[in-house]
């Protein structure tokens, strides 16, 4: 059996990649995709843990709730993508660019 920690480690790596992607890339869409990646890695961790806590013959509701949570995360992610992309489009209409560095009017 693959130890849970492997999955978690993988999840951590993917998460890190996602984080770096958010920080480094300037294309707003790529940034967004990195965010999706992060969410996904979290999902992976959830599922791994859900499986890890399933012991015995009866379905452990606690364990199952891990997957339930993933379900919700995905829902939220979907909604978020919808809105986020709409935002990006709206910004693009204004600035004709999706470079996140262009949106720096909040400069102090």
């Amino acid at each position: 059996m693959v130890p849970t920690s492997y999955y978690i480690l993988l999840s951590a790596i993917l998460f890190t990649i996602g984080v770096v992607g958010v920080l480094v890339r300037r294309n707003a869409i790529i940034v967004f995709m990195s965010v999706e990646l992060m969410l996904n890695s979290a999902n992976l961790a959830f599922v791994a843990f859900a499986r890890a806590f399933q012991t015995g013959n009866a379905v452990n509701a606690a364990a199952m709730s891990g997957q339930v949570f993933v379900f919700f995360v995905m829902t939220v992610a979907a909604a978020e993508v919808a809105v986020g992309l709409a935002l990006i489009v709206a910004i693009f209409k204004n600035k004709h660019s999706i470079d996140v560095d262009q949106v720096h009017q909040l400069k102090g």
Binding site: V19, V22, L23, V24, R26, V100, D101, V103, H104, Q105, L106, K107, G108
Partner: protein, 745 residues
Amino acid sequence: MHDSSTAFSLSSLVPLIVVFPLLGVILNMLVGKRLGDPWAGIIASLMSGLAFVIAVLQFIGLFLDNFHATTITLAEWIVIGTLKIPWAFQVDTLSVTMMLLVTGVGTLIHVYAIGYMKGDERFHRFFIYLNLFIVMMLFLVGGNNYLMLFLGWEGVGLCSYLLIGFWFDKGANGVGNARAGRKAFVVNRVGDFGFVLALFLIFWTSGSLIFNDSFKYFEEKAKEHATVTAPAPAKAVEAKPAEGHGESEGPTTEQIATAITLLLLVGAAGKSAQIPLFIWLPDAMAGPTPVSALIHAATMVTAGIYMIVRSNVIFHLAPTSQMVVALVGASTAFLAGSIAMGQFDIKRVLAYSTISQLGFMIAAAGMGAYVAAMFHLLTHAFFKALLFLSSGSVIHGVEHGHHALHAHGGGGHDHHDAHAHNAQSDSHAAQASAASPDHHEFDPQDMRNMGGLRKQMNVTFWVYLIGAIALAGVFPFAGFWSKDEILADAWLIGSKQPYGVAVYVLLSVAAFFTAFYMGRQVFMVFFGGERTDAAKHAHESSWVMLTPLVILAVLSVIGGALNLPKFIPGGEALGKWIEHSVEVHAVGFNLTVALISTGVGLFGIFLSYLVYGRSPMMTMTDPLERLGFVFRFLNGKWYVDELYQAIIIRPIEGFATFAAFALDWDLWHDFFHDTIIAGGFRWFSGFLAGFVDKGIVDRFFDGLGGFVRETALNFREFQTGYVRNYALMVLFGVVAVLGYFLFVR
């Protein structure tokens, strides 16, 4: 001495003596200006006359009451601790004598002044001052305590000042009269200083300023001292604790008495114009003649003598002081008499004569011959007042002659007693040039401008002559008796103590001087030919002025009857009278002295006849000027004023100038205030503003602000506006927290 117990006693009327003249003052102040000439004067004279009536009543009352002294207390004046001073009159023979003199002669002079001041624009004011003077003088002589005496003392000093400078806009340079008044006041003040110190001592030792209480204390002290034999330092005369000075015994009674009496002498020297404070009296001639007569001959100047006589108890305890007093008086008599011989102003001669005669009185008082002193005081009042008033008459006459000559409108004559009077020197030219343009070079008081006036002013001549002879001390006029008695006293003392000889010699020579200068004066003024046209046109004065003269002349003749020698029936009247109040030692009639003094007097007159009478002056040059330096010295008044000016006035003025300009203005104001205080303050505030405020505080806060700003600017860099940066920050936080939780906890 008891308070009168009869239902009604004349002595209870004594407050009225002050009330009447005071009423005169108030009346004249209120309506005097409207009443004008002569009614203001009539009111004043009336009030003075009423005061005289009261004085006479007191005289009678004393006779009825067997000469017992009474005290009439009106109210309490000062009650502080142990000091109790009432408003109270002492009615005894001594005070009544003075009261009679003051009010009597005073009234006569009031009447005279009605005529003399006629036409003056401040007529009523003159009589206000005169009446006020009477009030103050009566306080002086009537009070029963030293403080009332002092009150009167100061009051008459004030009136003297007011009256001397009555024509305050006249005189040399327009301020001469005012200066004379100020000089009188200031010099008097010096004497008053001594007097006040004496008062302090009297109160300090005896615990009271009331005459009788104080004298009782001193008498008791004297008795104690007499009974205590010498070798007992531990049992010395009771030393007041306050006077300890670390000695086991305090000063003796004699020492205290000497101190008190010497200080009293200082006061008397100021008021009665003795050495060294006599310089004010000649200048006081700047006042109108009635003032000179009343104040500076008859009454005010005698206050010093009265004061000494009144304080006889204390003087008896200090034989040293008595000697000093006598010598001062005798020296003054000598000095003033000599100066009088060299004066040209008619009033100045009389002024120095007054100083000289006052010297006689002071010497008498110093020798303990109080009766002689009072006697001479009275007689001198008569003939000196007479002489002054007559001289006023003469001056008026000459003035009118001058006016008539220059046809400067008849009417109101301007009063020029102080006309062109340079108070400092008698030099003819100086004063004349400072005169009003009207009378350039003509001084109506200069005897050299007179001559032969007995033709034009007959009555004046006769009364003047009587006064002069009386003053010279020729038998049987009043002056002879009183002066003679003083000389007899001096002779008597001289036989016991050496200083008496000096006194006798000085006084005799002074008597010689007196006769000489009076003779000189009479011959210069009334005999010979008129030296000026003004003298030719002089005319006699009005009856208003002449009547008092005549009365005074009569008194000068018969005045000797007051105190004839014992062997004459009715003799020693004054002596017996005064004896009730003052301890007197009667001195018998001394034929030798009498003969000597008569001889001296006659010799003086004869000499003056030789010089001035036989070949009367026809020019302005005085024959005595042949004496050269001597005459100049006498004419220059022994240069006493100049001496004082040099050693006292000049340094004081110099110091005052120094203090005012260098110290106060330059040093204090300019340097200290401006430079140090203002400058220092300015520097300090500048320092505070610049160095502290701008330099430190501002810089601190600027720095603080700057620091904040810099910090903010630096921190501002964080707000890049880039989303990625913000995300980076978040990541950074996450890592930190994670690390913290994992590794620290």
